[in-house]
Amino acid sequence: MTLLLAPAALNRIRVQESNSWRVEVLCKPNLLDARGAALRAQLPWLGVQGVTDVRVDQLYRLSGRLTQHQAVSIAQQLLADPITQEYRVNGHPSNAVPSQTPCCRIEAWLKTGVTDRVGESVRRAILDMGLPIPEEVRCATVYRFFGRFVQAQAERVAAKMLGNPLIHRFEISLGRNAP
């Protein structure tokens, strides 16, 4: 038996994937990001000198049968604050992207199997909005670093400052790959 999937099966997978929504919630650029500022102040302690700014944002992955309209409602009414934050749902609108490109982006997710408390809270809040309850909601913290940063530093900072490898999984992207 071959393990290769037929094209039809691939399509199927793609359809299922569209049932997963990535909602990114970003602090408006003109506001002080207190968490980011505190993190930046701690970086020299880890031997990282070249970082000029850090922004800390939230990322939610909603898995379940939700339409785009519903996902946007959730982002707008629940996950993002209309005054202090902007949001992107599966990357849109792209004008919510910060004007500057970070040199490094690190997502810290709770590992599979580790209870995502906030995710559970979000699920219940979605149900309370009269929307279909997602099968699962996972939350991550997104760190965007501006300035100079190399891979080894990113890994070190992730493990020493942004989370605990025992329970967190990090996704690190550097340079142009770091939106």
Binding site: L32, A34, A38, L78, S121, A125, D128
Partner: protein, 258 residues
Amino acid sequence: MKKPKVLILRTAGTNCERETASAFEMVGGEPRLVHIRQLRAGHNRITDFDIFVIPGGFSYGDDVAAGRILANEIRRHLPELKTFIRSGRPVLGVCNGFQALVKAGLLPNGRTGEQIASFAANDSNRFEARWTRLRLNIQSHCLFLKDLPEMIELPVAHGEGKFVVKSPKVLEDLKRSNAIALQYVNEEGNLAGYPYNPNGSIFNIAGICNSEGNCLGLMPHPERFVTRYHHPNWTRQTFCKEGIGLEMVRNAVKHVLS
């Protein structure tokens, strides 16, 4: 004399309800702790009460953002609160309650239902538990602040208390309409930075009242200063007889009785 009925709203994570009830009891109110599920299920009706309070705490763990989930719940499932406010009866939101009222679009101005202000993490990026000096807006119509001295002290305890507004115009409107009820100040009564302003709020805003004067939201906790023994310096001073927070809730009870 009939005691004014005070509804103290509870939900998962509310945690200042008992001392809030205590304060109202001391001034002749009849407080009742009511879970939001009991209201939603129709077991209790808001309109049966004279005063409505959302006490402090961490509703739903402050998950997503402080007060956000409760605010959504109020918007969607508690439309009577808006009517209650319009009826002129006293409504008080303390700390998490203030956050929920603002995010539910009921403060500073509940007419449109639009959220025009919000809260961000304290500039210090830390939870701050400390006593603050506050200056009252003597031009405010706020019924809770009636006949209070201009300078008062109350404790704050929050991590997300930095008041922010949608636009500079909103701030101008707030100033013009005397909606800014309380501001963090220093010993001289002037606006000052950290730690006087414990969270970095714009224009040192600590509390907001609607233009009708019956709905007050504030970050500091009046229910934590109801006797002189609550003041951090009561062992040093002899002048203060009872807590200023008690005066605030007494004003609400008096308002109902008058």
